[in-house]
């Protein structure tokens, strides 16, 4: 159904399907909305002469696909996730540490001023 990939899939059914790319498996399993492309339209868009010589449908292969460390969000995003907000309310701090703090054996109280 167009634009309605809201159905949540069983990952075990998708895991080894050769015709579904791993990136797509993760999207479907997480029930993320997949935007349908407008490939069905018959009208060809006008193209610049410069675009004629450009390679199409070429995947970026320069990326290192054999790396050890995962990719992390930017430092700003991480700071927002794990730091208290400036307005003296520690809601964001709470959300970032909410699940994590229970894992530390000596979790501190959030309102500790020390």
């Amino acid at each position: 159904l167009k634009g309605s990939v809201q159905r949540k899939w069983d990952i075990n059914k998708l895991l080894y399907l050769d015709n579904v790319e791993p990136e797509e498996v993760v999207k479907r399993w997480r029930a993320q909305i997949v935007e349908e492309s407008d490939d069905e339209s018959d009208i060809e868009e006008e193209e610049d002469d410069g675009d004629f010589f450009k390679k199409r449908d070429v995947k970026d292969t320069s990326k290192d696909l054999d790396q050890f460390a995962p990719e992390y969000p930017s430092i700003e995003e991480l700071k927002n996730k794990f730091n208290p907000a400036d307005d003296n309310s520690d809601e964001e701090y709470e959300s970032g540490f909410q699940k994590l703090k229970s894992r530390f054996l000596a979790a501190p109280k959030l309102n500790d001023t020390e």
């Binding site: 990952i11 895991l15 050890f68 460390a69 992390y72 994590l100 894992r103 501190p108």
Partner: protein
């Protein structure tokens, strides 16, 4: 498995090249990898991949490598893993961790003990490959869980980018027929955070600045934070100035989760310490007993274990495209499939964020034991 031993496994692209080659070596089946960067401006294998193939050839007996004229396809017919004493000069495009990491998959199943000296960069700011401390504190404890206990990694010289000049000695005294079956189903508590901040050919104050900034970020965790300063001077400090940090969260029952970073030219040590500390928190928030960078080794050892089902609890955020690529590669080489059980279906509260990976071992036996 008897029929698959004669056939060739084929892959396309340069993804997980080392893993695919190592799995094929363990399985003893020939492998063909084609379309390696075939659409790239610089097609074919890179210098470090060629170097890795040469290393693989050196630690095995009677392996044959065929590389096409353009370098975009390679056929590898693995021989028996023999190990032994050797020195490998790594190109400066990759740190030594790139070469050491796959050797950990082979070393315990070798005919002779592995004793390899790797020369080159001990860390790199350009790539996201494993640093020496990451392997020592992150991967060796995982191997211990599978019954591989006597593996050590010694830094003889540190070598920072761009020129390197480092030396690292990998020693594996533990030769086992197969890994033991592992069941990691609990969510272990974090008892302490440790780490090492190092520098070569720069002022020792750099490491103190890294340590201070990392400690500031990690202080609210409330656990003991102990980061060691490791300053290298003179001949043993390689050819270039540099600094870096590795932070490790110690979990109960011997599990470790880590993050690491290397300073780039012109970057501040404070920024590095802060960034790596936040990355460790991020990794902890997305992990159970094993971090994302340890999953590959864990899944590979579960696969080549005894003919029993091993189980590993993972966070749902750990299930990404890379995780699926690893499982598909394992299936293609060994024919075994993983099953994921959703924690949301469990009656226990708080399990919604987790899944359990069940993987049946293939009953692998090391080549040396087969001959004996």
């Amino acid at each position: 498995m008897s029929s698959s031993k004669t056939s060739m496994v084929t892959f396309e692209g340069h993804r997980n090249l080392r893993l695919r080659l190592v799995l094929a070596t363990l399985a003893g089946i020939p492998i063909k990898i084609s379309k390696i960067r075939s659409n790239d401006m610089n097609p074919g294998l890179k210098d470090y991949e060629i170097s890795f193939l040469r290393l693989l050839e050196a630690v095995t007996n009677d392996s044959r490598i065929e590389i096409s004229y353009t370098g975009t396809s390679v056929i590898f017919r693995p021989g028996i893993i023999i190990g032994g004493q050797l020195t490998h000069n790594c190109p400066v495009s990759k740190p030594v961790g790139y070469f050491i990491e796959p050797m950990l998959y082979l070393a315990p199943f070798s005919k002779k003990k592995f004793s390899i000296v790797f020369k080159g960069l001990t860390a790199s700011d350009k790539t996201r490959d494993a640093g020496v401390e990451s392997i020592k504190w992150g991967l060796l404890p995982i191997m211990e869980k599978f019954g591989v206990r006597e593996v050590s990694l010694h830094i003889l010289k540190r070598g920072s980018p761009p020129l390197g000049g480092g030396e690292v000695h990998l020693l594996c005294n533990s030769l086992i027929p197969q890994p033991i079956t592992m069941h990691a189903l609990e969510n272990p508590k974090i008892s302490a955070i440790r780490g090492v901040a190092y520098c070569t050919r720069v002022s020792p104050s750099m490491v103190n600045r890294i340590i201070d900034s990392a400690r500031n970020v990690l202080r609210p965790t409330g656990v003991e934070v102990n980061i060691t300063a490791d300053v290298w001077r003179g001949e043993n400090s390689g050819k270039s100035p540099g600094f870096g940090v590795t932070l490790v969260a110690e979990l109960k029952k011997g599990w470790r989760i880590l993050a690491e970073g290397v300073g780039s030219p012109g970057s501040l040590p404070e920024d590095l310490g802060e960034r790596v500390a936040y990355e460790l928190l991020e990794e902890l928030s997305k992990s159970v007993a094993v971090g994302r960078n340890q999953l590959q080794l864990c899944l590979a050892f579960m696969t080549i274990g005894k003919e029993d089902i091993g189980r590993l609890k993972v966070h749902k955020d750990q299930i990404d495209d890379n995780f699926i690529h690893i499982l598909r590669d394992i299936k293609q080489v060994f024919g075994t499939e993983a099953f994921l059980k959703d924690g949301a279906n469990e009656p226990i509260p708080g399990e919604e964020d987790f899944m359990t990976v069940s993987l049946k071992g293939i009953g692998f036996t090391s080549a040396s034991k087969k001959i004996a």
